[in-house]
């Protein structure tokens, strides 16, 4: 088995004049989970569909499980599984019938039973697909991706549109799937999801990779792991804020200032002192640990939510 499940070099995808994917390099080691993170419109799905063999690349090289799509499309398809965004399975078929149908396409794989139990959908085996809830449909999509017992599993926004409870339920299932040397490529625009599920993360924006690393390393790369957010009236000059011990960065959104710092117990008393010196009142003060959202904000100047709406 190849040590690298996926190797991508200088991948470019153009639609007419539009450059959707702009020179992506990527490697995924066998048995790891890679998170492809970014807002909608970051062309995560385009990238993944090229890896899945559903779209041709404009240029660049793609090797999946050691083969190229031109060499052995059927061979690769037999060894990968996928959930696509918003697949509507046949509403009139039952869960079990849908799984049996998809199982029949694979030369080898696991039983329908096993796939059902992996996604905890045994009770719904005889239910028509049209009667399933959103979370159950996503679990069915996951089971359909699993019936071929794939070495490499692509999950394209598996929890989008789900309520928090269903989302966490799905995370538990995906966590369990990661054993057995299976490689997983997950796209999401939920930073928390990537942090929970993935060993490595690649942050994509406008078809380019803007950062990569483990979730912890990415947060570390901000320079500070803690954030102090406050509103001061009148505002404190930014030179004064740089005197806060462990200071590594400052951002402002409206009145709210957010400082990246190393240690809260040193930074907060210092901030209070500086505010006093400037006869400034802290109207609001809160602290939290830095997250991948902050990484995205630092890299792109936008929060993920803004990127969504943009």
């Amino acid at each position: 088995m190849a040590a690298l499940a996926i190797e991508v070099e200088r991948l470019v995808k153009r639609f007419g004049d539009l450059v959707a994917v702009d020179g992506i390099d990527l490697t995924v080691s066998t048995g790891t989970c890679l998170g492809l993170l970014g807002p909608n419109g970051a062309e995560k799905t385009t990238t993944v569909e090229i890896l899945e063999g559903l779209q041709p690349a404009t240029s660049g090289s793609v090797r999946v499980l050691g083969r190229t799509w031109a060499e052995d499309p059927e061979g690769i398809r037999a060894r990968i599984g996928a959930t696509l965004q918003e697949t509507r399975f046949h509403e009139k078929l039952t869960v079990e019938e849908t799984l049996t149908l998809f199982r029949s396409f694979y030369p080898r794989g696991q039983g329908v039973e096993q796939a059902l139990s992996q996604v905890a959908l045994e009770e719904k085996r005889d239910a028509r697909v049209g009667t399933l809830s959103g979370g159950q449909k996503q679990r069915l999509a996951l089971a359909v991706g699993l019936v071929g017992d794939p070495e490499l599993l692509f999950l394209d926004e598996p929890t989008t549109g789900l309520d928090p409870v269903s989302r966490r339920g799905l995370w538990t299932i995906i966590e369990r799937l990661k054993g057995r040397g299976r490689t997983v490529v997950l796209t999401t625009h939920y930073m928390e999801e990537a942090a929970v599920l993935c060993d490595d993360i690649v942050i994509v924006d406008h078809g380019r990779i803007v950062a990569r690393g483990t979730p912890d390393a990415l947060v570390h790369s901000l320079g500070g792991e803690q954030l102090v957010e406050f509103v001061a009236r009148p505002a404190i000059p930014s030179e004064a804020l740089e005197r806060v011990p462990g200071f590594s960065g400052r951002r402002q959104r409206g009145e709210t200032v957010s400082l990246s710092v190393q240690a809260l117990h040193e930074a907060v008393p210092a901030l209070l002192r500086i505010a006093d010196e400037h006869r400034s009142e802290l109207v609001r003060l809160s602290t939290r640990a830095a997250t991948l959202d902050d990484v995205f904000l630092a890299l792109t100047g936008r929060t993920l939510v803004e990127a969504e709406q943009g």
Partner: protein
């Protein structure tokens, strides 16, 4: 476990998917079986009644009204209504009655001689009144009633409706299903599996054939039971001809559905195909009513070929040799559109 592994074959699973989706969709069952049945009952009854209809005659006021009424009521072909003279005039003008009688010692008949119904009514009225007055027929006549099988409108209509039904169920059943699978990204999902495209296409074709087989048998059954419509030619030829038509339209349907990305586009295209052919291909009346210059075009349409063939077999008792022309038309459409569909087809 040979049976079990055979059962798992992708072709069978895909065919099962097609059949289940049909059986579990009540509206599909209605459009394929219920709708043509209703159509032929309504149209069949409408035209059957017309043949045996009586002619309406108004009887105005006058001295010998009861005698006139009695004489006319004895006639099989007339139905009488009592009216004032004014009403009778109005009923004549509006065409509600074919003729009006004003009773008197010498009854007066009011009629418009340019109306064919008025002439028939006059013959019947004169006959009835003269008979009542004691006329005897010097020459005895014998009447034998014949309704030739195959000559009634219903005999003409049933093959037309069957052709229409096969076209609709092929275009909508296959095309609509494909477009819905594309919109729901199910085609894309299938393309991401090692499924062979050929299995997919064969399953659709086999599903279409099975359903078309049921459609033809159902049509033959109810037409025979309700209207006593019989197939003059070989019923097997009739059946195979229906299946050939269904396959030909299956190809056309795959072409129509090869790229459509939305329900609106798909239904627009499908309506364009089905409605235009329904109008010109002789479902309700013979396509030969269209002017001569249009005939080559009409003969080249698949629905015309399908219906002409069905009528030739069921009414004229035509054999295979007489069907070569329309068979070529169906084959060319089926193979040509299917080949084009394969080139154009989008899984995504």
């Amino acid at each position: 476990m040979k049976g079990a592994s055979g059962w798992l074959k992708p072709f069978w699973q895909l065919l099962l998917m097609r059949l289940r989706s049909f059986v579990r969709e009540p509206s599909a069952t209605f459009w394929v079986f219920g709708f043509p049945l209703l159509m032929s009952i309504v149209l069949g009854l409408a035209f059957q009644n017309q043949a045996g209809a009586r002619l309406s005659v108004a009887v105005a006021e006058g001295p010998e009204r009861p005698a006139v009424l009695g004489a006319l009521r004895a006639s099989e072909g007339l139905s009488t209504t009592e009216m004032t003279l004014d009403e009778a005039h109005r009923a004549l003008l509006s065409g509600k009655v074919a003729l009006a009688v004003v009773p008197a010692a010498t009854p007066r008949l009011l009629l418009d001689p340019t109306q064919p119904e008025a002439r028939s009514a006059k013959l019947l009225v004169v006959d009835a009144l003269q008979r009542a007055a004691g006329r005897t027929d010097p020459r005895p006549l014998e009447e034998e009633r014949v309704t030739l099988p195959g000559s009634r409108y219903i005999d003409f209509l049933v093959p037309g409706l069957l052709g229409f039904g096969l076209m609709s169920s092929s275009i909508w059943g296959v095309g609509w299903a494909i477009v819905q699978m594309r919109i729901g990204k199910l085609l894309r999902r299938l393309a991401a599996t090692p499924m062979r495209k050929l299995d997919f296409l064969l399953a659709f074709a086999a599903g279409r054939l099975l359903l078309a087989l049921l459609e033809v048998l159902f049509f033959l059954g109810f037409a025979r039971l309700i209207f006593d419509v019989r197939v003059a030619g070989n019923p097997l030829t009739f059946l195979l001809w229906g299946l050939l038509g269904a396959l030909s339209f299956g190809g056309l349907s795959a072409l129509v559905a090869s790229r459509a990305q939305s329900s609106e586009t798909a239904s627009g295209l499908m309506n364009l195909v089905t409605l235009s052919m329904t109008v010109v291909s002789g479902v309700f009346f013979s396509a030969s009513h269209f002017p001569g210059w249009a005939q080559p075009v009409l003969r080249a349409l698949p629905l015309t070929a399908l219906i002409d063939g069905l009528r030739a077999i069921s009414i004229d008792g035509a054999g295979v040799a007489a069907l070569v022309g329309p068979a070529l038309v169906l084959l060319l459409w089926g193979v040509g559109s299917f080949a084009l569909a394969l080139r154009l087809f989008r899984w995504t």
